[in-house]
């Protein structure tokens, strides 16, 4: 056997099921990669002892009927893991050890997987480059000094570098899809309510969704199948039967209607992205899909509406970090109020403070109607755009991002140019519909580029099938050299 970690998750599952390899061997192979991959800074916490113990238990007592038999998995450090530190990339949760397990991670463990470690991310998932983490920048394995995207940057980096066979992230405005695009991997944001939010550190509750990040589309279907499902502990969880996405995955897209929204052709977008989009259309057309021009007229208002809704919800969610019940507490301050103020000032980083202030401002007395209410109305218009489009088409094809991965530091001091990164991903969070990024090509600097497929509510199977075709026909290869091991 050559290096097991070169394989996709689906292949490793297959090898374990065929008893050609043991869970412990797989686990040791990833641990060795992680130890050689410290330079990428993708892990915040390693849980090798737990992983080795669980892998040995699995090998002694295997259950091959599970979806993820004996598979070690690292997850974004935004998922609460029972007994394992959960930081959300923040100083304020630096030493927080949850006493409970998030539903989605619990779903993974019920299917035979176990925790390998917790992955770096932007602080409280607020960022598009993984430069806001208290635990430092994450490096994109595709190229040194380049960002992996964010906020699930550690997840994307660890996945692309083969430091975990698959992972899960969270997506509030593009935090799964943009890093997937930047690292040449697959990432899917499910329909709002498909995956439970219980036990995930909250950022913006009406937008947050957990989703898979994987090397291949088949892996993505498998992981989505494992994590999705109704959860009575999340009041926004959709009560419906679990889908067998991996079993139903197929390339028959004949007759499907694919919408191309003209508003996604933005000024200053590199030619290569335009060409990639054409390539995607061509692939789908050749396989029998019908390409239809559509309009989503309120697209340009999605980002400004998002930067009201998301910070408003964040300012409310993050009010709980007061230095009393858990997390960091400042030693400065002579009374309770000063203790709160100093704790939050020292515990939160700059981007988090910026967003809390935006959110507090738009919700403050006298401004609510002008900002929050206005943004909710615009959100309705954006959702109406999609509803109308989906009367005519089955899915929508767009680029995932307006650029490829950028250099560390390049956009750090310009919040707006950083926010513009999410211009193609934010509208689907506002509308609550599923979308995924699949790698499809490269730009002139050889950096990966992704195409985004947007589906109807609960239309995950359709976009997975379309992505499977794009993956097969675009002949994208990650070809990462593991330069960081030298």
């Amino acid at each position: 056997m050559t290096d097991i970690t070169n394989n996709s998750l689906t292949k490793i599952v297959d090898l374990i099921k065929k008893k050609e390899i043991k869970s412990e061997e797989v686990t040791n192979a990833y641990i060795s990669n992680i130890e050689k991959g410290k330079k990428l800074n993708s892990y915040i916490t390693e849980s090798f002892e737990i992983a080795l113990k669980k892998s040995k238990n699995f090998d002694k007592n295997p259950n091959y009927d599970l979806l993820l038999p004996g598979i070690p998995l690292a997850v974004k450090d935004l998922f609460c893991t029972n007994g394992v530190k959960t930081t959300a990339g923040s100083k304020i949760l630096e030493n927080f050890v949850p006493k409970y397990e998030s539903t989605v991670t619990n779903n993974l463990w019920s299917e035979g997987a176990f925790l390998l470690g917790k992955l770096n991310c932007d602080e409280f998932a607020m960022g598009s480059s993984n430069e806001t983490s208290f635990f430092g920048n994450v490096i994109n394995p595709v190229k040194d000094n380049t960002v992996p995207g964010g906020s699930s940057g550690g997840s994307a980096s660890a996945l692309a570098a083969e430091l975990t066979p698959a992972t899960i992230g969270t997506d509030t405005g593009g935090s799964i899809r943009q890093p997937a695009s930047f690292t040449g991997t697959v990432g899917l944001k499910p329909t709002y309510g498909l995956c439970s939010r219980w036990g995930i550190v909250a950022f913006a509750s009406s937008l947050d969704q957990a989703g898979p990040m994987t090397q291949t589309v088949s892996d993505c279907a498998l992981m989505l199948e494992a994590i999705s499902g109704f959860d009575p502990k999340d009041s926004t969880s959709i009560d419906r039967k679990k889908e067998n996405y991996s079993k139903k995955l197929n390339k028959n897209i004949k007759g499907l209607k694919i919408g191309i929204p003209k508003e996604y052709r933005v000024d200053g977008m590199p030619n290569e992205i335009e060409e990639l989009w054409e390539k995607g259309k061509k692939i789908l057309k050749e396989e029998g899909a019908e390409i239809i021009d559509i309009s989503l007229p309120h697209t340009e208002y999605a980002l400004p509406a998002y930067y009201i809704v998301a910070p408003a919800e964040a300012s409310s969610n993050l009010a709980r970090y007061d230095g009393v019940k858990y997390g960091f507490r400042s030693s400065k301050g002579s009374n309770l109020i000063e203790m709160y103020e100093n704790t939050r000032s020292e515990g939160f980083g700059d981007e988090v403070k910026r967003r809390i202030l935006i959110g507090t401002y738009v919700l403050s007395s006298g401004y609510y109607d002008a900002y929050y209410l206005k943004a909710q109305k615009v959100r309705q218009l954006i959702k109406n755009d999609f509803d109308k489009a989906f009367l005519k088409v089955d899915a929508i094809l767009t680029p995932s991002t307006p650029s490829s991965a950028f250099k560390i530091g390049e956009k750090k001091n310009d919040p707006i140019s950083m926010y513009l990164n999410d211009i193609f991903t934010v509208p689907t969070n506002l509308a609550g519909i599923p979308a995924m990024s699949v790698p499809a090509g490269r730009d002139k600097n050889d950096l990966p580029l992704g195409l985004q497929l947007i589906g109807k509510p609960l239309g995950e199977q359709t976009i997975l099938n379309l992505a499977l075709l794009i993956e097969a026909k675009s002949s994208f290869k990650r070809n990462i050299s593991k330069w960081w091991e030298k």
Binding site: D239, I308, K325, L336, E341, N342, L357, T360, Y361, Q376
Partner: protein, 95 residues
């Protein structure tokens, strides 16, 4: 729109975050830029649009009013930065 330093100080007070002069200055600049960007929304007429408060078509489920969890005081206290056997400890509130 400009968010001046006084507005930043007032908002930071509401959010219980202490800021020094330099941070106040830079947040005033950042937020002014961000609100200029947000102002774009005023271009659309939303007079007759209903605000979207939930993207789900079901109303939030209410659960049965019974205890399903609890009795884990010691576990909960473990994560507190300051506690005794039974309580969270905070700076003195009443003189």
């Amino acid at each position: 729109m400009s968010i001046d330093k006084d507005k930043i100080k007032h908002t930071a007070k509401l959010a219980r975050i202490s800021l020094d002069e330099k941070q106040t200055e830079s947040l005033s600049k950042d937020l002014s830029n961000i609100f200029n960007f947000i102002e774009k929304l005023n271009k659309i007429d939303t007079e007759n649009v209903k605000p979207l408060t939930s993207i789900l078509d079901h109303t939030l489920r209410a659960r049965e009013d019974k205890v399903t969890d609890g009795g884990i005081r010691d576990q909960i206290l473990e994560n507190s930065p300051s506690k005794n056997e039974e309580f969270f400890i905070v700076p003195k509130v009443i003189e």
